[in-house]
């Protein structure tokens, strides 16, 4: 192997550290502003998930996976269908049709019902991408310190790679 899929390059880790807050904020912005500007649930969720995947690549997949909360992830994966179903049935319960949004007893019912659905969609999409990425990466062995120091020409890696696999 002449190339390593994992990097300890300070350029990469620093860039990702700087980018992550901005991109995650942008993902959430797209998620919440789906009714008034470009984006929505799918886009916002995908942007946020892509950032988590990038963080995992830069700082170590196992470290990122350890930082994720599995119960929160399960809840997020189920959020989309659940929220969509609840909003859809709320329309029926209030005497409207399935998925009729404007019968809900809140101001600007269509806007807020749409926002709720978008947030649910975003949660499901983001969590599904992160979960699939982490699970597919399971059998993947990150190069250990000894290997990376060879690749770097003997310099000490700035990020510690867990070697407990």
């Amino acid at each position: 192997m002449t190339r390593s899929p994992y990097t300890d390059s300070p350029v990469v880790t620093t860039t990702v550290r700087l980018l992550a807050p901005g991109v995650l904020t942008y993902g959430l912005f797209t998620l919440f502003h789906g009714t008034s500007s470009v984006g929505g649930g799918f886009q916002g969720g995908v942007v946020a998930a892509a950032m988590v995947v990038t963080v995992a690549f830069a700082l170590g997949i196992r470290r990122t996976a350890a930082w994720l909360d599995r119960r929160a992830l399960s809840a997020l994966v189920a959020a989309g269908p659940v929220v969509f179903g609840v909003v859809a049935l709320a329309g029926v319960a209030l005497g409207g049709a399935f998925l009729q949004l404007d019968v809900l007893p809140i101001p600007k019912a269509t806007v807020y019902a749409t926002e709720a659905i978008e947030v649910g969609i975003g949660a499901t999409v983001a969590a599904v991408i992160v979960v699939l990425f982490v699970r597919i990466a399971d059998g993947y062995e990150e190069p250990r310190e000894a290997d990376t120091s060879v690749l770097d020409g003997g310099t000490t890696p700035s990020v510690e790679v867990p070697t407990d696999d």
């Binding site: 009714t35 500007s37 886009q43 269908p81 404007d102």
Partner: protein
């Protein structure tokens, strides 16, 4: 954006997309293929923005250039290079019949292109009364992004189905991987 600028951008981006698409197929190193394929997605994303479909462009950039590339990189990190330097496609394994079928399908698809309406033709569904209704009604309801309005308010049933598919895909993939426990 002026029309001339738009046309120039489209041509440049289309040439770029076509170029990297061919490059993806002919490049020998798998890692290079993955990177070139990401560039292809990025070109497409830019093209969507030029065509005023930023919602699609955003998704293409994040999924095509971002997540798909990451998944491909993971996959190739778990595979090995073939020992021979033949490249990925062994010429002897290309069957003339397969080439014939692929060519016929390509020609048949290209033959349908003249049947498509011209860009901006006023008799297409996009300019019908339904589109007019969506645009005015969505604004009345306070949903300014017509794309979101169509997805959730008017075509909510389809979107519900899509979310169900995403959910089911995750469950199925985890079941096939034998890893029902998340993270």
């Amino acid at each position: 954006m002026t029309l001339a600028l738009e046309a120039t951008l489209s041509v440049v981006l289309l040439a770029f997309v076509l170029g990297v698409a061919v490059l993806t197929a002919v490049v020998r190193d798998v890692l290079t293929t993955v990177v070139v394929f990401a560039a292809y997605s990025l070109g497409l994303a830019a093209l969507w923005v030029v065509y005023r479909a930023p919602d699609v462009g955003l998704t293409e950039a994040a999924v095509g250039a971002g997540v798909t590339t990451a998944l491909f990189l993971l996959t190739i990190s778990r595979t090995v290079r073939p020992a021979t330097d033949e490249g990925l496609v062994d010429r002897r394994s290309v069957r003339p019949r397969s080439v014939l079928v692929a060519s016929v399908v390509t020609v048949a698809l290209l033959a349908t292109v003249p049947a498509l309406p011209t860009v901006g033709a006023s008799d297409t569904a996009a300019f019908g009364p339904v589109a007019e209704y969506y645009l005015t009604d969505a604004a009345d309801r306070g949903v300014d992004n017509a794309v979101t309005a169509v997805l959730v308010v008017y075509r909510g049933f389809d979107t519900f189905g899509e979310v169900a598919v995403v959910f089911a895909a995750a469950v199925a993939a985890l079941a096939v991987l034998g890893r029902e426990v998340l993270a």
